[in-house]
Protein backbone atom coordinates (compact mmCIF):
# COMPACT_ATOMS: atom_id res chain seq x y z
CA UNK A 1 0.00 0.00 0.00
CA UNK A 2 2.98 2.20 0.61
CA UNK A 3 3.52 1.96 -3.10
CA UNK A 4 0.55 4.19 -3.71
CA UNK A 5 0.39 6.28 -0.58
CA UNK A 6 4.09 6.96 -0.07
CA UNK A 7 4.17 10.07 -2.17
CA UNK A 8 1.03 11.35 -0.57
CA UNK A 9 2.59 11.49 2.88
CA UNK A 10 4.81 14.48 2.52
CA UNK A 11 3.65 17.97 1.63
CA UNK A 12 6.40 18.36 -0.91
CA UNK A 13 5.33 15.31 -2.84
CA UNK A 14 1.65 16.14 -2.59
CA UNK A 15 2.29 19.54 -4.07
CA UNK A 16 4.44 18.01 -6.79
CA UNK A 17 1.60 15.62 -7.65
CA UNK A 18 -0.91 18.44 -7.68
CA UNK A 19 1.35 20.50 -9.93
CA UNK A 20 1.86 17.68 -12.41
CA UNK A 21 -1.87 16.93 -12.51
CA UNK A 22 -2.64 20.60 -13.15
CA UNK A 23 -0.08 20.74 -15.96
CA UNK A 24 -1.53 17.61 -17.51
CA UNK A 25 -5.03 19.02 -17.44
CA UNK A 26 -3.99 22.06 -19.47
CA UNK A 27 -1.16 20.80 -21.64
CA UNK A 28 -2.73 17.45 -22.52
CA UNK A 29 -5.69 19.00 -24.35
CA UNK A 30 -3.54 21.82 -25.69
CA UNK A 31 -1.27 19.22 -27.24
CA UNK A 32 -3.98 18.44 -29.81
CA UNK A 33 -3.86 22.00 -31.09
CA UNK A 34 -0.07 22.10 -30.98
CA UNK A 35 -0.17 19.14 -33.32
CA UNK A 36 -2.95 20.48 -35.56
CA UNK A 37 -1.30 23.85 -36.00
CA UNK A 38 2.23 22.42 -36.16
CA UNK A 39 3.53 24.40 -33.23
CA UNK A 40 6.17 21.97 -31.97
CA UNK A 41 9.14 24.02 -33.17
CA UNK A 42 7.76 27.33 -31.85
CA UNK A 43 7.01 25.62 -28.53
CA UNK A 44 10.58 24.36 -28.34
CA UNK A 45 11.89 27.80 -29.18
CA UNK A 46 9.75 29.50 -26.52
CA UNK A 47 10.83 26.95 -23.94
CA UNK A 48 14.54 27.43 -24.62
CA UNK A 49 14.29 31.16 -25.15
CA UNK A 50 12.65 31.98 -21.84
CA UNK A 51 15.64 30.78 -19.82
CA UNK A 52 17.10 34.24 -19.03
CA UNK A 53 13.77 35.27 -17.51
CA UNK A 54 13.76 32.17 -15.34
CA UNK A 55 17.34 32.72 -14.22
CA UNK A 56 16.78 36.37 -13.39
CA UNK A 57 13.72 35.46 -11.33
CA UNK A 58 15.69 32.77 -9.51
CA UNK A 59 18.55 35.19 -8.84
CA UNK A 60 16.16 37.81 -7.52
CA UNK A 61 14.28 35.34 -5.40
CA UNK A 62 11.08 36.17 -7.27
CA UNK A 63 8.46 33.56 -8.22
CA UNK A 64 9.65 31.60 -11.21
CA UNK A 65 6.33 32.01 -12.98
CA UNK A 66 6.99 35.73 -13.31
CA UNK A 67 10.40 35.11 -14.82
CA UNK A 68 8.94 32.52 -17.14
CA UNK A 69 6.19 34.88 -18.29
CA UNK A 70 8.64 37.69 -18.94
CA UNK A 71 11.08 35.36 -20.65
CA UNK A 72 8.40 33.95 -22.92
CA UNK A 73 7.25 37.41 -23.96
CA UNK A 74 10.75 38.54 -24.85
CA UNK A 75 11.56 35.29 -26.63
CA UNK A 76 8.36 35.40 -28.67
CA UNK A 77 8.97 38.99 -29.71
CA UNK A 78 12.58 38.25 -30.66
CA UNK A 79 11.61 35.21 -32.73
CA UNK A 80 8.85 37.17 -34.47
CA UNK A 81 11.25 39.98 -35.32
CA UNK A 82 14.00 37.70 -36.51
CA UNK A 83 11.69 35.68 -38.72
CA UNK A 84 11.17 38.63 -41.03
CA UNK A 85 14.29 38.24 -43.11
CA UNK A 86 13.46 36.04 -46.06
CA UNK A 87 17.00 35.27 -47.08
CA UNK A 88 17.79 33.66 -43.77
CA UNK A 89 14.52 31.80 -43.33
CA UNK A 90 12.57 31.75 -40.11
CA UNK A 91 13.98 28.40 -38.97
CA UNK A 92 17.55 29.65 -39.04
CA UNK A 93 16.66 33.01 -37.57
CA UNK A 94 14.82 31.26 -34.75
CA UNK A 95 17.85 29.06 -34.14
CA UNK A 96 20.04 32.17 -33.81
CA UNK A 97 17.63 33.86 -31.41
CA UNK A 98 17.24 30.72 -29.33
CA UNK A 99 20.99 30.10 -29.16
CA UNK A 100 21.50 33.63 -27.98
CA UNK A 101 18.75 33.78 -25.39
CA UNK A 102 19.36 30.28 -24.11
CA UNK A 103 23.09 31.00 -23.93
CA UNK A 104 22.37 34.21 -22.06
CA UNK A 105 20.34 32.31 -19.50
CA UNK A 106 23.13 29.79 -19.02
CA UNK A 107 25.71 32.53 -18.79
CA UNK A 108 23.77 34.35 -16.09
CA UNK A 109 23.24 31.16 -14.16
CA UNK A 110 26.81 29.85 -14.31
CA UNK A 111 28.55 32.99 -13.14
CA UNK A 112 30.57 31.81 -10.15
CA UNK A 113 28.81 34.13 -7.73
CA UNK A 114 25.32 33.23 -8.95
CA UNK A 115 23.41 30.84 -6.71
CA UNK A 116 20.84 29.93 -9.37
CA UNK A 117 20.26 26.23 -9.60
CA UNK A 118 20.65 25.83 -13.34
CA UNK A 119 20.00 22.11 -13.28
CA UNK A 120 16.51 22.57 -11.88
CA UNK A 121 15.71 25.37 -14.29
CA UNK A 122 16.78 23.19 -17.21
CA UNK A 123 15.36 19.85 -16.14
CA UNK A 124 12.49 20.83 -13.87
CA UNK A 125 11.86 20.82 -10.16
CA UNK A 126 8.36 19.68 -9.28
CA UNK A 127 9.47 19.00 -5.72
CA UNK A 128 10.43 22.64 -5.28
CA UNK A 129 6.91 23.89 -5.87
CA UNK A 130 5.61 26.07 -3.06
CA UNK A 131 2.01 26.67 -2.09
CA UNK A 132 2.09 30.03 -3.81
CA UNK A 133 3.53 28.52 -6.97
CA UNK A 134 0.76 25.95 -6.94
CA UNK A 135 -1.93 28.59 -6.52
CA UNK A 136 -0.50 30.63 -9.39
CA UNK A 137 -0.30 27.53 -11.56
CA UNK A 138 -3.89 26.61 -10.74
CA UNK A 139 -5.10 30.09 -11.65
CA UNK A 140 -3.26 30.05 -14.96
CA UNK A 141 -4.41 26.54 -15.77
CA UNK A 142 -8.01 27.59 -15.19
CA UNK A 143 -7.52 30.68 -17.34
CA UNK A 144 -5.93 28.61 -20.08
CA UNK A 145 -8.73 26.08 -19.89
CA UNK A 146 -11.40 28.75 -20.16
CA UNK A 147 -9.60 30.23 -23.15
CA UNK A 148 -9.41 26.85 -24.88
CA UNK A 149 -13.09 26.24 -24.24
CA UNK A 150 -14.05 29.61 -25.67
CA UNK A 151 -11.72 29.17 -28.64
CA UNK A 152 -12.78 25.62 -29.35
CA UNK A 153 -15.01 26.19 -32.35
CA UNK A 154 -12.79 28.85 -33.99
CA UNK A 155 -9.72 26.66 -33.58
CA UNK A 156 -11.47 23.72 -35.19
CA UNK A 157 -12.77 25.88 -38.04
CA UNK A 158 -9.36 27.40 -38.77
CA UNK A 159 -7.47 24.12 -38.41
CA UNK A 160 -9.92 22.48 -40.78
CA UNK A 161 -10.18 25.18 -43.42
CA UNK A 162 -8.40 28.45 -42.81
CA UNK A 163 -9.44 29.71 -46.24
CA UNK A 164 -13.13 29.38 -45.58
CA UNK A 165 -12.93 30.61 -42.02
CA UNK A 166 -13.19 34.22 -43.08
CA UNK A 167 -16.67 33.60 -44.40
CA UNK A 168 -17.62 32.18 -41.03
CA UNK A 169 -16.78 35.45 -39.36
CA UNK A 170 -13.32 34.47 -38.12
CA UNK A 171 -9.92 36.01 -38.65
CA UNK A 172 -7.48 33.07 -38.88
CA UNK A 173 -4.54 35.28 -37.93
CA UNK A 174 -6.22 36.34 -34.71
CA UNK A 175 -7.27 32.80 -33.87
CA UNK A 176 -3.69 31.60 -34.28
CA UNK A 177 -2.42 34.47 -32.17
CA UNK A 178 -4.87 33.58 -29.42
CA UNK A 179 -3.64 29.99 -29.53
CA UNK A 180 -0.04 31.18 -29.28
CA UNK A 181 -0.96 33.20 -26.20
CA UNK A 182 -2.44 30.11 -24.57
CA UNK A 183 0.65 28.17 -25.60
CA UNK A 184 2.97 30.77 -24.12
CA UNK A 185 0.99 30.66 -20.88
CA UNK A 186 1.16 26.87 -20.79
CA UNK A 187 4.92 26.91 -21.40
CA UNK A 188 5.42 29.48 -18.64
CA UNK A 189 3.42 27.40 -16.17
CA UNK A 190 4.87 24.04 -17.10
CA UNK A 191 8.49 25.10 -17.12
CA UNK A 192 8.71 25.01 -13.34
CA UNK A 193 7.79 21.35 -13.21
CA UNK A 194 9.61 20.11 -16.29
CA UNK A 195 12.32 22.64 -16.97
CA UNK A 196 13.21 24.61 -20.05
CA UNK A 197 14.70 21.61 -21.83
CA UNK A 198 11.99 19.05 -21.11
CA UNK A 199 8.73 21.00 -21.13
CA UNK A 200 8.19 20.23 -24.81
CA UNK A 201 7.32 16.68 -23.80
CA UNK A 202 4.03 17.62 -22.17
CA UNK A 203 3.03 19.76 -25.14
CA UNK A 204 3.79 17.21 -27.84
CA UNK A 205 3.74 13.70 -26.36
CA UNK A 206 0.05 13.50 -25.40
CA UNK A 207 -1.22 14.16 -28.94
CA UNK A 208 1.50 11.90 -30.35
CA UNK A 209 0.31 9.14 -28.03
CA UNK A 210 -3.35 9.63 -28.96
CA UNK A 211 -2.65 9.75 -32.71
CA UNK A 212 -4.72 11.15 -35.54
CA UNK A 213 -7.54 8.62 -35.75
CA UNK A 214 -9.85 10.33 -33.33
CA UNK A 215 -13.49 11.13 -33.84
CA UNK A 216 -13.48 14.74 -32.83
CA UNK A 217 -11.21 17.40 -31.37
CA UNK A 218 -13.02 17.16 -28.05
CA UNK A 219 -12.30 13.47 -27.73
CA UNK A 220 -8.70 13.99 -28.74
CA UNK A 221 -8.31 16.65 -26.08
CA UNK A 222 -9.88 14.49 -23.39
CA UNK A 223 -7.63 11.59 -24.33
CA UNK A 224 -4.65 13.94 -24.30
CA UNK A 225 -5.51 15.07 -20.80
CA UNK A 226 -5.74 11.47 -19.66
CA UNK A 227 -2.37 10.61 -21.18
CA UNK A 228 -0.68 13.69 -19.76
CA UNK A 229 -2.02 13.26 -16.25
CA UNK A 230 -1.45 9.52 -16.31
CA UNK A 231 2.11 9.79 -17.54
CA UNK A 232 2.80 12.60 -15.11
CA UNK A 233 1.62 10.59 -12.15
CA UNK A 234 3.51 7.50 -13.29
CA UNK A 235 6.63 9.59 -13.72
CA UNK A 236 6.40 11.10 -10.25
CA UNK A 237 5.75 7.78 -8.62
CA UNK A 238 8.68 6.15 -10.34
CA UNK A 239 10.86 9.08 -9.33
CA UNK A 240 9.72 8.62 -5.73
CA UNK A 241 10.34 4.89 -5.64
CA UNK A 242 13.38 4.61 -7.92
CA UNK A 243 15.08 7.85 -6.99
CA UNK A 244 15.44 9.46 -10.40
CA UNK A 245 15.10 13.20 -10.96
CA UNK A 246 11.40 14.06 -10.81
CA UNK A 247 11.06 16.32 -13.85
CA UNK A 248 13.11 14.00 -16.04
CA UNK A 249 11.09 11.00 -14.88
CA UNK A 250 7.86 12.68 -15.90
CA UNK A 251 9.38 13.58 -19.26
CA UNK A 252 10.48 9.98 -19.75
CA UNK A 253 7.00 8.69 -18.94
CA UNK A 254 5.52 11.11 -21.49
CA UNK A 255 7.97 9.99 -24.17
CA UNK A 256 7.16 6.39 -23.35
CA UNK A 257 3.45 7.14 -23.76
CA UNK A 258 4.09 8.67 -27.19
CA UNK A 259 6.19 5.73 -28.28
CA UNK A 260 3.63 3.30 -26.86
CA UNK A 261 0.81 4.98 -28.74
CA UNK A 262 2.76 4.86 -31.99
CA UNK A 263 3.59 1.18 -31.49
CA UNK A 264 0.01 0.25 -30.70
CA UNK A 265 -1.17 1.99 -33.86
CA UNK A 266 1.42 0.19 -35.96
CA UNK A 267 0.18 -3.23 -34.90
CA UNK A 268 -3.48 -2.52 -34.30
CA UNK A 269 -5.02 -0.92 -37.38
CA UNK A 270 -7.40 1.93 -36.66
CA UNK A 271 -11.16 1.26 -36.80
CA UNK A 272 -12.37 1.51 -40.40
CA UNK A 273 -14.01 4.89 -41.02
CA UNK A 274 -17.80 4.86 -41.54
CA UNK A 275 -18.53 4.41 -45.22
CA UNK A 276 -20.07 7.27 -47.17
Amino acid sequence: MDLLTGPLDSGIDRRALAEIVLLGLLCGPLSFWVRSFRLAYPSESLAHGLLPGLVLAALAGAPLILGAAGGVAVAAAAVALAGRDHRIGSDTATAVVVSGTFGLGVLLALRPDAPARLGELLFGDPLGVSGTDLAAAAALVVAGGVALAALHRPLAAVAFDAGGAGGLGLRPGRVRLALLLVLATAVAVAVQGLGSLLVLAILVAPAAAVGDHVRSPARAMAAGAAVAVGAGVVGLYSSYHLGGAAGASVALALCAAAAGGALVRRFVPPAAPASA
Binding site: S36, A150, L151, H152, R153, P154, A156, A157, A159, F160, D161, G163, G164, G166, G167, L168, G169, L170, D212, V214, R215, S216, P217, R219, A220, P273, A274, S275, A276
Partner: protein, 249 residues
Protein backbone atom coordinates in the same frame (compact mmCIF):
# COMPACT_ATOMS: atom_id res chain seq x y z
CA UNK B 1 -32.98 44.63 -58.56
CA UNK B 2 -30.23 45.89 -56.32
CA UNK B 3 -26.72 44.68 -56.80
CA UNK B 4 -25.68 41.96 -54.38
CA UNK B 5 -22.07 42.61 -55.30
CA UNK B 6 -20.50 45.68 -56.79
CA UNK B 7 -16.78 45.89 -57.55
CA UNK B 8 -15.02 49.10 -58.53
CA UNK B 9 -11.52 49.20 -60.01
CA UNK B 10 -10.32 46.46 -57.70
CA UNK B 11 -6.67 45.50 -57.62
CA UNK B 12 -5.12 42.92 -55.30
CA UNK B 13 -1.84 41.14 -54.80
CA UNK B 14 0.41 39.41 -52.30
CA UNK B 15 2.89 42.04 -51.30
CA UNK B 16 4.66 43.18 -54.43
CA UNK B 17 2.86 44.46 -57.48
CA UNK B 18 -0.82 43.51 -57.68
CA UNK B 19 -1.43 40.31 -59.62
CA UNK B 20 -4.94 41.41 -60.55
CA UNK B 21 -5.98 44.89 -61.58
CA UNK B 22 -8.86 46.86 -63.01
CA UNK B 23 -11.76 44.66 -61.97
CA UNK B 24 -15.16 46.38 -62.15
CA UNK B 25 -18.53 44.70 -62.34
CA UNK B 26 -21.90 44.57 -60.62
CA UNK B 27 -23.96 41.47 -60.00
CA UNK B 28 -27.69 41.65 -59.33
CA UNK B 29 -29.05 39.48 -56.53
CA UNK B 30 -30.05 36.02 -57.57
CA UNK B 31 -27.61 35.74 -60.46
CA UNK B 32 -24.91 33.22 -61.06
CA UNK B 33 -21.64 34.38 -62.56
CA UNK B 34 -18.99 32.13 -64.04
CA UNK B 35 -15.45 33.39 -63.57
CA UNK B 36 -13.11 32.19 -66.28
CA UNK B 37 -9.40 32.57 -66.63
CA UNK B 38 -6.10 30.72 -66.79
CA UNK B 39 -4.29 29.50 -63.71
CA UNK B 40 -2.49 32.43 -62.14
CA UNK B 41 -4.92 34.75 -63.88
CA UNK B 42 -6.39 36.05 -60.67
CA UNK B 43 -9.58 34.07 -60.06
CA UNK B 44 -8.55 32.90 -56.62
CA UNK B 45 -7.05 36.30 -55.86
CA UNK B 46 -10.37 37.96 -56.63
CA UNK B 47 -12.26 35.53 -54.42
CA UNK B 48 -9.85 35.97 -51.57
CA UNK B 49 -10.15 39.73 -51.82
CA UNK B 50 -13.94 39.54 -51.84
CA UNK B 51 -13.87 37.09 -48.92
CA UNK B 52 -11.85 39.58 -46.91
CA UNK B 53 -8.65 37.55 -46.76
CA UNK B 54 -6.68 40.02 -48.84
CA UNK B 55 -6.78 43.75 -48.43
CA UNK B 56 -7.32 45.37 -51.85
CA UNK B 57 -4.29 47.15 -53.26
CA UNK B 58 -6.62 49.57 -55.00
CA UNK B 59 -10.34 50.07 -55.57
CA UNK B 60 -13.11 48.72 -53.37
CA UNK B 61 -16.28 46.68 -53.42
CA UNK B 62 -19.71 46.42 -51.78
CA UNK B 63 -21.08 43.07 -50.88
CA UNK B 64 -24.32 42.05 -49.18
CA UNK B 65 -23.59 40.29 -45.93
CA UNK B 66 -20.57 38.12 -45.41
CA UNK B 67 -19.75 35.95 -48.42
CA UNK B 68 -19.26 32.24 -47.97
CA UNK B 69 -15.95 31.24 -49.51
CA UNK B 70 -15.77 27.64 -50.60
CA UNK B 71 -12.09 27.35 -51.42
CA UNK B 72 -10.81 24.54 -53.57
CA UNK B 73 -11.75 21.45 -51.62
CA UNK B 74 -8.23 20.16 -51.67
CA UNK B 75 -7.25 22.86 -49.22
CA UNK B 76 -9.48 21.65 -46.41
CA UNK B 77 -7.60 19.31 -44.10
CA UNK B 78 -8.83 15.83 -44.91
CA UNK B 79 -7.32 14.30 -41.79
CA UNK B 80 -8.92 16.75 -39.37
CA UNK B 81 -11.41 14.87 -37.20
CA UNK B 82 -14.73 16.39 -38.18
CA UNK B 83 -17.85 14.76 -39.50
CA UNK B 84 -20.00 16.14 -42.29
CA UNK B 85 -22.44 17.42 -39.68
CA UNK B 86 -19.63 19.08 -37.73
CA UNK B 87 -18.55 20.96 -40.83
CA UNK B 88 -22.07 22.10 -41.62
CA UNK B 89 -22.56 23.25 -38.02
CA UNK B 90 -19.50 25.50 -38.40
CA UNK B 91 -21.76 27.74 -40.43
CA UNK B 92 -23.43 28.91 -37.24
CA UNK B 93 -20.22 30.30 -35.73
CA UNK B 94 -20.64 33.92 -36.67
CA UNK B 95 -21.33 36.30 -33.83
CA UNK B 96 -21.25 33.58 -31.17
CA UNK B 97 -17.97 31.74 -31.68
CA UNK B 98 -17.24 31.34 -27.99
CA UNK B 99 -20.48 29.45 -27.30
CA UNK B 100 -21.17 25.82 -28.14
CA UNK B 101 -23.53 25.00 -30.99
CA UNK B 102 -27.22 25.09 -30.06
CA UNK B 103 -29.88 22.55 -30.90
CA UNK B 104 -31.29 24.77 -33.59
CA UNK B 105 -27.85 25.16 -35.13
CA UNK B 106 -27.65 21.41 -35.48
CA UNK B 107 -31.13 21.31 -36.95
CA UNK B 108 -30.20 23.95 -39.50
CA UNK B 109 -27.09 21.94 -40.36
CA UNK B 110 -29.14 18.76 -40.80
CA UNK B 111 -31.59 20.56 -43.02
CA UNK B 112 -28.77 21.97 -45.13
CA UNK B 113 -27.17 18.55 -45.54
CA UNK B 114 -30.50 17.13 -46.59
CA UNK B 115 -30.88 19.91 -49.11
CA UNK B 116 -27.57 19.04 -50.76
CA UNK B 117 -28.50 15.38 -50.79
CA UNK B 118 -26.28 14.15 -47.97
CA UNK B 119 -28.82 13.41 -45.26
CA UNK B 120 -27.44 9.94 -44.62
CA UNK B 121 -23.84 11.06 -44.39
CA UNK B 122 -24.07 13.22 -41.30
CA UNK B 123 -21.76 11.18 -39.06
CA UNK B 124 -19.28 10.35 -41.78
CA UNK B 125 -15.78 11.70 -41.36
CA UNK B 126 -15.26 14.53 -43.83
CA UNK B 127 -12.05 13.01 -45.10
CA UNK B 128 -13.83 9.78 -46.00
CA UNK B 129 -16.25 11.47 -48.37
CA UNK B 130 -15.75 11.69 -52.12
CA UNK B 131 -14.68 14.93 -53.78
CA UNK B 132 -18.19 15.73 -54.89
CA UNK B 133 -19.63 14.99 -51.48
CA UNK B 134 -17.04 17.21 -49.82
CA UNK B 135 -18.01 20.09 -52.08
CA UNK B 136 -21.65 19.59 -51.16
CA UNK B 137 -20.84 19.58 -47.45
CA UNK B 138 -19.03 22.87 -47.85
CA UNK B 139 -22.01 24.28 -49.73
CA UNK B 140 -24.26 23.05 -46.92
CA UNK B 141 -22.04 24.99 -44.54
CA UNK B 142 -22.54 28.07 -46.66
CA UNK B 143 -26.30 27.53 -46.43
CA UNK B 144 -26.15 27.37 -42.64
CA UNK B 145 -24.22 30.61 -42.75
CA UNK B 146 -27.17 31.90 -44.71
CA UNK B 147 -24.72 33.63 -46.98
CA UNK B 148 -26.32 35.80 -49.66
CA UNK B 149 -23.17 35.65 -51.75
CA UNK B 150 -21.30 32.42 -52.36
CA UNK B 151 -17.79 32.35 -53.82
CA UNK B 152 -17.02 28.88 -55.14
CA UNK B 153 -13.48 28.27 -56.32
CA UNK B 154 -13.46 25.51 -58.95
CA UNK B 155 -16.14 23.48 -57.19
CA UNK B 156 -16.33 20.90 -59.95
CA UNK B 157 -12.62 20.18 -60.20
CA UNK B 158 -11.99 16.48 -59.75
CA UNK B 159 -15.64 15.73 -59.09
CA UNK B 160 -17.33 12.75 -60.72
CA UNK B 161 -19.98 13.62 -63.35
CA UNK B 162 -22.94 12.47 -61.26
CA UNK B 163 -21.97 14.69 -58.33
CA UNK B 164 -21.19 17.51 -60.77
CA UNK B 165 -24.75 17.34 -62.06
CA UNK B 166 -26.16 17.45 -58.55
CA UNK B 167 -23.97 20.40 -57.70
CA UNK B 168 -24.86 22.30 -60.86
CA UNK B 169 -28.57 21.75 -60.18
CA UNK B 170 -27.93 23.04 -56.67
CA UNK B 171 -26.46 26.25 -58.10
CA UNK B 172 -29.66 26.88 -60.04
CA UNK B 173 -31.69 26.27 -56.87
CA UNK B 174 -29.60 28.67 -54.83
CA UNK B 175 -29.80 31.38 -57.44
CA UNK B 176 -33.56 30.90 -57.69
CA UNK B 177 -33.95 31.68 -53.99
CA UNK B 178 -32.14 34.95 -54.39
CA UNK B 179 -28.58 34.04 -53.54
CA UNK B 180 -25.75 35.23 -55.72
CA UNK B 181 -23.09 32.83 -56.88
CA UNK B 182 -19.63 33.40 -58.30
CA UNK B 183 -18.26 30.14 -59.60
CA UNK B 184 -14.76 29.94 -61.01
CA UNK B 185 -14.20 27.27 -63.58
CA UNK B 186 -12.19 26.07 -66.53
CA UNK B 187 -15.26 24.95 -68.43
CA UNK B 188 -15.74 27.58 -71.11
CA UNK B 189 -18.71 25.78 -72.60
CA UNK B 190 -20.40 25.35 -69.25
CA UNK B 191 -20.07 29.07 -68.71
CA UNK B 192 -22.75 29.71 -71.31
CA UNK B 193 -25.36 28.38 -68.89
CA UNK B 194 -24.67 31.13 -66.37
CA UNK B 195 -26.37 34.52 -66.15
CA UNK B 196 -23.08 36.32 -66.64
CA UNK B 197 -19.46 35.53 -67.23
CA UNK B 198 -16.35 37.33 -65.98
CA UNK B 199 -13.10 36.78 -67.83
CA UNK B 200 -9.88 37.45 -65.98
CA UNK B 201 -6.29 37.29 -67.04
CA UNK B 202 -4.39 39.37 -64.51
CA UNK B 203 -6.93 42.05 -65.38
CA UNK B 204 -10.58 42.13 -66.34
CA UNK B 205 -10.95 41.13 -69.96
CA UNK B 206 -14.73 41.12 -70.19
CA UNK B 207 -17.94 40.88 -68.16
CA UNK B 208 -21.46 40.30 -69.27
CA UNK B 209 -23.95 37.97 -70.91
CA UNK B 210 -22.08 34.84 -72.07
CA UNK B 211 -23.68 34.87 -75.48
CA UNK B 212 -22.41 38.38 -76.09
CA UNK B 213 -19.07 38.14 -74.32
CA UNK B 214 -17.67 34.73 -75.20
CA UNK B 215 -16.31 35.38 -78.66
CA UNK B 216 -13.01 34.27 -80.08
CA UNK B 217 -11.22 37.53 -79.35
CA UNK B 218 -12.18 37.60 -75.70
CA UNK B 219 -11.28 33.96 -75.22
CA UNK B 220 -7.92 34.46 -76.84
CA UNK B 221 -7.13 37.45 -74.63
CA UNK B 222 -8.23 35.51 -71.59
CA UNK B 223 -6.49 32.25 -72.22
CA UNK B 224 -3.70 33.12 -74.59
CA UNK B 225 -2.24 29.92 -75.85
CA UNK B 226 -4.03 27.73 -73.30
CA UNK B 227 -7.17 27.63 -75.38
CA UNK B 228 -8.03 25.39 -78.26
CA UNK B 229 -10.69 26.90 -80.51
CA UNK B 230 -12.75 24.49 -82.54
CA UNK B 231 -15.07 25.97 -85.13
CA UNK B 232 -18.70 24.93 -84.62
CA UNK B 233 -19.79 22.27 -87.03
CA UNK B 234 -22.99 22.55 -89.02
CA UNK B 235 -22.28 25.91 -90.60
CA UNK B 236 -23.84 27.80 -87.70
CA UNK B 237 -20.69 29.81 -87.25
CA UNK B 238 -19.41 30.51 -83.79
CA UNK B 239 -16.58 28.88 -81.99
CA UNK B 240 -16.42 26.04 -79.56
CA UNK B 241 -13.71 26.60 -77.03
CA UNK B 242 -11.87 23.99 -75.08
CA UNK B 243 -9.70 25.28 -72.29
CA UNK B 244 -6.61 23.24 -71.54
CA UNK B 245 -6.86 22.03 -67.95
CA UNK B 246 -3.94 22.13 -65.58
CA UNK B 247 -3.71 20.54 -62.19
CA UNK B 248 -3.06 22.90 -59.36
CA UNK B 249 0.32 22.32 -57.74
Amino acid sequence: MSAALEVRELAAGYGGDPVLTGVSFAVPAGSSVCVLGPNGGGKTTLFRALAGQLAPAAGDFDITGRPAYVAQAAHARLDFPVSALDVAVMGSLAGRWWLPARGRDRDAARAALERVGLAGSEPTAFGSLSGGQRQRVLIARALVQDATVLLLDEPLAGVDPASAETITALFADLAAEGRTLLVSSHDVEGARAFDAVLCLNREQVAYGDPAAVLDARVLETTYGRELILIPESGGAGGVRAVAVQHHEH
